[in-house]
């Protein structure tokens, strides 16, 4: 199958997955008990008022109609208006998306900065005490809940040393230094734990590659051990690591939501939690759709990347 056809097929799968996910999200929210009109008007409201509001909001129509309406608006960025706060949901999401994305991407960078060097080192030195020490360290690192790490980091750097703020956020546009200062502790909290997890995979991948025959051929032709590692090992070891990266990004997203709470960052996570507390179903619905969509898209991207890296898969259908 040619590359283009394969790409189209993959894109098709993504769209189907997104569609199915949207149905699932919508249905789950639809069957949840709670009449939005009643929630908005309160317990004291009269039946007529409730019925009128239901007509206004459009929740008295069939499920299919409601779904079609909602899904139709999604590609345009129209998520509807919150029943509870009357704010345009799409706008809210857009506002806060930047925060969460900064958090997630920064966290991933930190995680990679830890995982790759230490993982390679642990693999190359796996027979030494230093290699074992690194492995033990990674086990400790991944057992730690990221929010605990965040609290401890906040204590050391914000409460005791007072170098960094423990909460709040500044937009990148309003000042890069302040932006970094507010995000540094969250990045570390997310990245350290994720880094430990990733390190195990990197180490495993590098160990596997080191045992391969083609490494020996490379050395027989005249490369040094390190030369062979760089030239041949990296690309081959990257393949299994990239696969894991996709799953890890989803985990990172979830972790980011929790970390937002720890450091009171105005991101999607805190908005979501508030929505749940307020029983703001439409908001919750839209936000979860965005998050699920992201995760699915990321996984799709990883699959594509995987094919790019490993030529053996290009021929496979």
């Amino acid at each position: 199958m040619s590359g283009l056809l394969l790409a189209l097929r993959r894109a098709g799968f993504l769209l189907v997955s997104l569609f199915i996910a949207s149905v699932l999200v919508f249905l789950t929210c639809a069957v949840l008990p709670g009449d939005p009109a009643r929630v908005a008007l309160g317990v004291e409201a009269t039946e007529e008022a409730v019925a009128a509001l239901r007509r206004d909001l459009g929740v008295d129509r069939s499920l299919v109609a409601q779904y079609a309406d909602w899904v139709g608006g999604l590609p345009r960025g129209d998520f509807g208006r919150s029943y509870v706060t009357q704010v345009d949901i799409g706008e809210q999401i857009a506002d806060r998306l930047g925060v969460t994305l900064s958090l997630v991407l920064g966290g991933m960078v930190v995680a990679l900065l830890i995982a790759v060097p230490f993982g390679v080192l642990a693999a190359v030195r796996h027979r030494d005490a230093s290699g074992t020490a690194l492995t033990v360290g990674s086990q400790l690192g991944l057992a730690v809940p990221s929010f605990w790490a965040g609290i401890l980091l906040a204590y050391v750097f914000a409460v005791r040393l007072r170098w960094l703020p423990a909460s709040g956020y500044t937009n990148l546009a309003d000042g890069a230094v302040e932006w970094v200062r507010h995000l540094l502790l969250p990045w570390l909290a997310l990245g350290l734990v994720q880094g430990a997890v990733l390190m195990r995979y990197v180490r495993s991948a590098v160990l596997d590659v080191l045992r391969e025959d083609f490494m020996r051929t490379a050395r027989a032709v005249g490369r040094t051990k390190t030369g062979a590692l760089w030239r041949h090992g990296v690309r081959n070891a990257a393949i299994p690591v990239v696969t894991v990266l996709g799953v890890q990004l989803s985990t990172l997203l979830v972790g980011a939501i929790i970390i937002e709470s720890v450091f009171t960052l105005p991101g999607i996570g805190t908005m979501l939690l508030q929505g749940v507390a307020n029983r703001d179903l439409l908001l919750v619905q839209g936000t979860i759709m965005v998050l699920v969509g992201f995760v699915l898209a990321l996984n799709w991207l990883v699959e594509v990347l995987y094919t790019v890296l490993d030529p053996r898969l290009r021929a496979a259908t």
Binding site: H126, V254, V292
Partner: protein, 297 residues
């Protein structure tokens, strides 16, 4: 193996056969299993003991000693802002931790495994559909499910258990699918087929026993992840409600007193980390001990 199968094996280093302790195999596997098993047993023991005895009533109040430090006023680890004994809360908190872990892993295993085995045994479109469904479900992390459930029914231990359990199904699904594929490729399966055994019989007699060791390892690791997930949900207030003690919620409450009583934040976090580490080590150790037959290294 198809690209999907290869991807499945890649995602699961369990199947690809590499472990953390790696080269030294049996010896270090033994060590890891022992340490992990030991600490895990300790956690279980603590939870069980807490039903019968705790130093103080975990939900009780001691107005004399608010926010006391360790070994103060007869409280080994101090008290929180209500005067409740920290040590007792930790012990009782173990109950929730273990309960959620057990139920979540049970849900995931009992639903994911049969589906995975089915998909692995029946090739063709059934297999493809199940794997695709698993991939989509993978996009729903436990947190999001828990949020939905909490929005509907109000947060509770129950919603947390179900959310984590459902979110772990894809992991068991993928694992049992890939493992079943490996088993199905063996010669004795062909022999069994030729001798006329039905699919169900083959599954029961040949597939399940052979994938059981991988499943056991996965269960231990999934348990560790469930503990972590529950802690996170508790922290956000999406799991066990007060006054039932829970480690995650203890951590949330402690954060408010970071300036005045930082130690409060240490104990529950330590408990969570210890429990997660224990089950992870147990899983790793089991893998080293059980797997050499499955691996060809």
């Amino acid at each position: 193996m198809t690209a999907d199968g290869m991807a499945a094996a890649q995602v699961d280093p369990l199947l690809a056969g590499e472990s953390v302790s790696g080269v030294r195999g049996r010896r270090s596997g033994n060590l890891a299993a022992r340490i992990g098993g030991g600490v895990a047993a300790l956690v279980v023991l603590t939870a069980l003991v807490s039903f019968v005895w705790t130093p103080y009533d975990p939900t009780g109040i001691d107005p004399e000693n608010l926010l006391a430090g360790p070994v103060t006023g007869g409280h080994l680890l101090g008290t929180d802002n209500f005067g409740s004994d920290i040590a007792s809360q930790l012990m009782a908190g173990a109950r929730v931790t273990l309960l959620v872990g057990i139920v979540a892993v049970a849900i995931a295993g009992l639903i994911g495994t049969p589906l995975g085995v089915l998909a692995g045994m029946r090739r063709g479109w059934v297999g493809a559909v199940v794997v695709r469904a698993g991939t989509i479900l993978f996009g729903f992390p436990a947190l999001l499910l828990a949020l939905l459930l909490a929005a509907a029914f109000g947060a509770s231990t129950g919603t947390a258990m179900v959310a984590i359990g459902v979110a772990t199904i894809p992991a068991f699904l993928r694992l049992s699918y890939a493992a079943t594929l490996q088993v199905m490729a063996s010669d004795y399966i062909t022999a069994a087929r030729t001798s006329g055994l039905s699919g169900l019989q083959i599954a029961r007699r040949h597939v399940l026993p052979n994938i059981s060791s991988v499943l056991l390892v996965q269960s231990s690791v999934a348990f560790a992840l469930a503990i972590l997930a529950e802690a996170g949900l508790s922290y956000l207030g999406l799991s066990t409600r007060p006054p039932t003690p829970s480690w995650g919620r203890m951590l949330h409450d402690a954060q408010g007193f970071l300036f005045t009583d930082p130690l409060l934040s240490v104990w529950p976090g330590l408990a969570i980390a210890a429990a997660v580490l224990a089950f992870n080590l147990l899983g790793d150790g089991l893998r080293d001990l059980l797997d050499p037959k499955l691996r060809d290294r």
